[in-house]
């Protein structure tokens, strides 16, 4: 028995509103406290810069051509990693989805690599590709590939035999089977795959660049850290966080729109 939603809706909305107020209050409180503690010298400003310093550093960074160049290089490495990792992952997943033999042969190893820390393979990428952007992009692609495969295969598991039967009965050709049944049914998995694809492309590129790279944000962070310019390091971290949060929000919206035919919210991917 379902209760009329209007009756339960109002208090729930009010609670959500209060929760977001509380959240904002705590964030603002922490920032204020942090600023004060640095100002009165309880926290050493050399190790943890005050929020106002970080904001000033951020403005500085955004205007600095060298920093801009670093962001651009990292951005294009991430994009390249995402495109390579996701397309390879999608291709492999569709092949595995179409053949039980391939699935039995390769899904196990893929799931195994997924569960290992992939950073241990990083030196191999540096050996092969050197210190340039390609090395970071290739490692990012490698990171994201496994997540894409596993999520797309999970999505293919949502395809229902009865829908394929209807498609056949109503004269669907192979292209229709994919476009009208398989892809829409597997969409939550494909969305999750894209999300994890971009997330791990990002992580992979960042790790590779922090570890060894001759360009991009990684070396920038290394330089500022070595010079104890904490405000700049924090500003970079904050910028990256803002980009990630905005991207996540846009993503969730797009996904909700694409999946609006689903009456339950169960299909939404946790965008973390």
């Amino acid at each position: 028995m379902r209760q009329p939603s209007a009756q339960r809706g109002a208090p729930r909305q009010r609670r959500a509103h209060s929760a977001s107020l509380l959240r904002s209050a705590i964030v603002i409180g922490v920032i204020l406290l942090w600023e004060i503690l640095v100002r009165i010298g309880v926290i050493d400003g050399d190790f943890l810069s005050a929020p106002t310093e970080v904001v000033r550093a951020m403005a500085d960074l955004l205007g600095d051509p060298d920093a801009q160049e670093a962001f651009r290089r990292t951005g294009s490495s991430i994009l390249l990693a995402f495109v390579m990792g996701t397309s390879a992952g999608l291709f492999v997943a569709l092949a595995l989805g179409a053949s039980r033999l391939l699935r039995e042969a390769f899904l196990g190893p893929i799931a195994f690599v997924l569960s290992t820390p992939k950073s241990i393979f990083l030196p191999i990428f540096t050996l092969i590709f050197g210190l340039g952007g390609m090395s970071a992009a290739a490692f990012g692609a490698f990171e994201s590939f496994f997540y894409v495969v596993v999520n797309v295969i999970g999505g293919l598991g949502l395809v229902e035999q009865r829908h394929l039967k209807v498609a056949d009965a109503f004269g669907a050709r192979t292209v229709h089977r994919y476009a009208d049944v398989i892809l829409p049914a597997a969409l939550p998995g494909i969305f999750a795959a894209f999300w994890y694809g971009i997330k791990h492309a990002f992580l992979g590129v960042m790790i590779a660049q922090l570890w060894a790279s001759d360009g991009g944000i990684g070396p920038l962070i290394r330089t500022y850290s070595a010079a104890l310019k904490t405000d700049y390091v924090l500003a970079i971290v904050l910028l990256i966080t803002i980009v990630a949060v905005v991207a996540g929000a846009l993503w969730t919206r797009a996904e909700t729109r694409m999946n609006r035919w689903r009456s339950t919210g169960a299909a939404t991917v946790a965008t973390i």
């Binding site: 009865r162 829908h163 498609a167 009965a169 109503f170 004269g171 050709r173 035919w261």
Partner: protein
């Protein structure tokens, strides 16, 4: 249009275990404008026979022709299915679901939506054309599935326990409604059902199938004009037929020998 089924046998080959002969030596003729219902115990091969008629399964032996042309695969303009579980595409609106077969046939969007809309009007659902299947009751979903089949303007409609998943009351109401819609559209229908009432109410001919392996054991002619009204179910001839069918099905249909 005449569909001829000539000594059709279908044996399922199984990866594990022995092959199963689901139907053996079925002979049947379905004529234009006729409503035929298939009734029989579970597992006697009703769905198998229907799938063969629609080209979804290839008979192991024997042949099926429509106006002399052999059936080699599914072709919705010749035979369109209505399945028990509706199986609408949940990611498509009602009208786009009704237009599914036309889309596969390459009909342009505006045109196929217009045709689908007309069929939705016929089944009384044009007002929910832009809704999604999840927002509809089971009975409404099945009417959309009927509209989807009708949109192909098929020579024959193949319905596999179309109302089996509905509650008793909706089942009777929607059953009568759809029977009238299809009668007025002058369709040819073969319907599998578990319900004696439904089998008699719908059909010009009731075919009773028996098990082991599936074959047609009896044929009853229901001699009443269509469209029929609900009170047809209260007539003496309906009762007599029902009693006879009941005896046949609840006795051991396997033992019954075709006359």
């Amino acid at each position: 249009m005449t569909m001829n089924i000539e000594s059709v046998t279908l044996t399922y080959e199984r990866a594990k275990g022995d092959p199963v002969t689901a139907i053996r030596d079925i002979d049947l003729e379905v004529r234009r404008g006729e409503f035929v219902s298939l009734i029989g115990p579970s597992g006697c091969g009703k769905s198998t026979l229907l799938h063969c008629m629609g080209g979804m399964l290839r008979p192991s032996s024997g042949r099926i022709t429509v106006d002399g042309e052999p059936i080699t695969g599914p072709k919705p303009s010749r035979a369109a299915f209505v399945f028990q579980d509706y199986s609408l595409f949940p990611w498509r609106s009602v009208v786009d679901n009704a237009a599914t077969g036309l889309r596969f046939a390459g009909v342009r969007k505006a045109e196929r939506r217009a045709v689908a809309m007309k069929q939705l009007e016929l089944v009384g659902l044009d007002h929910v054309a832009e809704s999604y299947p999840a927002e509809l009751s089971g009975g409404m979903q099945q009417r959309v599935a009927v509209a989807r089949a009708l949109a192909m303007d098929p020579q024959i409609m193949l319905m596999d326990e179309p109302f089996g998943a509905l509650d008793e009351q909706s089942r009777r109401r929607i059953g009568i409604e759809m029977s009238n819609v299809l009668t007025e559209a002058e369709k040819t229908v073969v319907m599998v059902t578990h319900s004696l009432d439904e089998a008699i109410f719908w059909a010009d001919r009731v075919l009773v199938m028996g098990k082991g392996p599936g074959r047609i054991v009896r044929e009853f002619v229901v001699d009443a004009p269509r469209p029929r009204r609900l009170d047809f179910m209260t007539t003496a001839s309906f009762d007599t037929l029902r009693a006879e069918l009941f005896g046949l099905l609840e006795g051991a249909p396997e033992e019954v020998v075709a006359p």
